[in-house]
């Protein structure tokens, strides 16, 4: 079946330093990839999505490039802010609709940005 592997556990950074959260996946299909973000005591919400190899969607300073050759979709930001502290989930979906509309999530990476 499909699976998503993320940087495990907690990543602690100092404000202003670059952010990189790893995400790799396994799927027999050519899936779409997503990043969801969940701030403390809030619901998860979509941050980025990518359907196309080597395209780089951006949102709120974050970007991620889907590399099908390496099955990766790492999340990056050039300079961390305190407000980036949150739980980040990488997820995939098979490309067609119907029963393939469900997402497979990784276990999440908690990002803590300190001053």
């Amino acid at each position: 079946g499909d699976s998503v592997t993320q940087t495990e556990g907690l990543v602690t950074l100092t404000e202003g330093l670059p952010v990189m959260l790893n995400c790799t996946y396994q799927s027999t299909y050519s899936p779409f990839l997503f990043w969801y973000v969940q701030h403390l005591n809030e619901a998860p919400k979509l941050l980025l999505k990518s359907f196309t190899d080597n395209k780089r969607p951006e949102h709120q300073g974050f970007h991620a490039t889907l590399h099908k050759s390496s099955s990766s979709f790492h999340l990056q930001k050039s300079s961390a802010q305190l407000s980036d502290s949150a739980l980040y989930y990488c997820a995939l979906r098979r490309p067609s609709g119907g029963s393939n509309a469900k997402l497979t999530f990784g276990k999440g990476t908690k990002l803590s940005v300190k001053s």
């Binding site: 619901a43 979509l46 997402l103 276990k107």
Partner: protein
Amino acid sequence: EAAVTQSPRNKVAVTGGKVTLSCNQTNNHNNMYWYRQDTGHGLRLIHYSYGAGSTEKGDIPDGYKASRPSQENFSLILELATPSQTSVYFCASSDWGYNQDTQYFGPGTRLLVL
């Protein structure tokens, strides 16, 4: 922004009791989902639905049932609650077509089974 609401927001239940978690969305989305969130496991799909009257098993359906009586409502039912079902439960909805990949989550329900 799509709106998804859940009730109750917090629930304490006894082992062996029946628990019903409710989810409502007013966006006319076809797809609805129930997840549980646990530290170290992330978000895991319990049941989902493609429309009124349909339910499908997700990745961890054991011990849970689901009901989709209408487009707007999707319930998760624990017939015989156990302490291992203590968790935070999220409902989500999404549309068909290009935007079906954007799932909109409710605020979550914290369930404690004693």
